[in-house]
Subunit: 323 residues, 2 copies
């Protein structure tokens, strides 16, 4: 029996996903199954006052609410991925966000629900991306998921039994700050030897420039992978070392979490399947055998959409739980 | 209103806790509140056939069932802590246990429930010890708990929201095999730089003997702490380095789990409060600030009883859930 009324009601429900970054606010309208209907982006005006950033967010929400209306439906909840530590319960930023200065301590729920009367849930952007991959991406259907995003920094997300792991103060899952060398490179976080200092994009570039002894060259990770393909020995060594560093960090993560699947995203991971194979070899040689059984290592699927998809997934999940 | 009948029924319920080690089987009878009524130990006969080890366990169970009967009550469930990886659902060993050779693949539930008709739950001994500290020991009342046992090896236990964290194949929480040095000491597990190779009792002794350049001396961690108290520079350095290694491992653990409390047990931790203070200083200098808020580092309380107390806690918890 098809109950038309119910099916129509479900179709009329929309979610808004917001992905706040230092350069852009990405925003999207999601259908009741979590799929994207509309996606857009606009400068986040990260260098301006907090109220200006909120104005950018308000405009995006208004635009998407209008869009939902045009389609004969309505928005029922909003999800937001943000840099920094987010108090998930209170839906506010905890302390400062180095790359989005005025956003520190932002009262997300108070401000947005106060204006629109819509429920909102916010989380750290790396957590939201992990949720995206687990609901709509490369880890769909998996419940014990580790997500690493290799970019300017290294972001981490952990799903345990399908739920985002946050820790007691919402400060957990900082997998970029797992140390692989107790006396290694100092990190901005105050630690030493954090994997972020060894396998992020800037770390790879620094390692390569050290090898070619020419700090003036303008190089990106794309250049390094391209040169390695042409046989450049320094580039090949840089990639091998990066894979080895990541293998060491992942061995610790696997021995600790014994996950089903590891998803690697971000610019560095776009280098392709061979790089992933090297990382896999590196951790397989270092990890305890029982935890390797059935373990998968895959590339993230959602790319630049991960933030909005995850924010929509979060909104949908929490909205449904609250009903 | 006091309902005497119910109160009496509750008093009449007992649990058995078994802590299987390479040298001894420790066994105890627990009251309905989890407190110990009787505790004993007997050689575990680890060098003999699996059936012999099971016979040792059978005798212990029979003795404690008799004890419960004498007290006018009955045993309702059994808990067991075992070396090795334990399939919690099937209640059997997964693969081999290097220090308890014949115990590999032991079918714990089939064999024990088959004989006594009593439900049994078994888990890895480090997990059971973490549960003990969280229910009756130094972490009582805490829900996000990390437990490290520093002994011949380093055992790890993780509690998330009050539940033992096991991972998808029950192979997680191997915190002794978190690496602090990607190119460090090779470990028996196949990895490199595992904290077990830097801060276990044998690692401390090895470090000290390297410093005094006399491998023939018979030294234990007790000797090292005693000599440090007398001003022996090599002993002081060994302790400082051990604290620094542990601080590096704990920084990674704290950035990842953001726990409420860390419990350190085992022989090395018995060195006292000053050693703990050094460890605390070491991780505080390396960890991200939001995860340090409110964090406690404490010494384990239950000592040699932790295994049986945890096994009783496990039996009680699972028995009550099953009712």
């Amino acid at each position: 029996m098809i109950r038309t009324g119910e099916a129509m009601a479900a179709e009329n429900i929309y979610y808004i996903g917001l992905d706040l970054g230092c350069t852009f606010l990405k925003y999207a309208l999601g259908a009741s199954d979590g799929s994207l209907i509309v996606k857009k982006k606009t400068p986040s005006r990260a260098d301006q006052a907090q109220s200006v950033i909120f104005e950018v967010i308000f405009s995006a929400i208004e635009e998407l609410m209008e869009e939902a209306k045009t389609r004969g439906g309505k928005v029922v909840a909003i999800g937001l991925g943000s840099p920094g530590a987010v108090d998930f319960k209170k839906c506010r930023l905890i302390g400062n966000t180095p790359n989005l200065q005025s956003w520190g301590n932002a009262e997300i729920r108070k401000t947005i629900t106060g204006r629109f009367g819509l429920p909102i849930w916010a989380d750290n952007d790396a957590n939201v991306m992990a949720l995206a991959e687990a609901t709509q991406g490369a880890a769909k259907g998996y419940k014990y998921v580790i997500a690493l995003t290799l970019g300017t920094g290294i972001g981490g997300g952990i799903l345990i039994d399908g739920e985002i792991y946050r820790g007691i103060n919402y400060a957990g899952a900082e997998l970029g700050h797992l140390s692989i060398a107790y006396d290694g490179h100092p990190c901005n976080c105050g630690g030493r030897g954090c994997i972020e200092q060894y396998a992020s994009a800037p770390a790879m570039v620094r390692n390569y420039l050290d090898k070619i002894k020419d700090a003036s060259e303008e190089v990106t990770t794309i250049t390094i992978f391209a040169r390695a393909a042409e046989g450049d020995q320094s580039a090949i060594e840089t990639i091998d070392e990066t894979a080895e560093y990541l293998g060491a960090a992942l061995a610790s993560i696997i021995n600790t979490f014994n996950p089903e699947i590891i998803v690697i995203g971000g610019g560095v991971a776009d280098a392709g399947e061979e790089f992933l194979t090297r990382i896999r070899h590196a951790y397989e040689g270092r990890t305890m055998k029982p935890a390797l059984k059935g373990l998968k290592l895959v590339r993230a699927k959602l790319g630049n959409d991960a933030g909005v998809v995850g924010a929509i997934s979060l909104a949908k999940k929490m909205y449904e739980q609250s009903q």
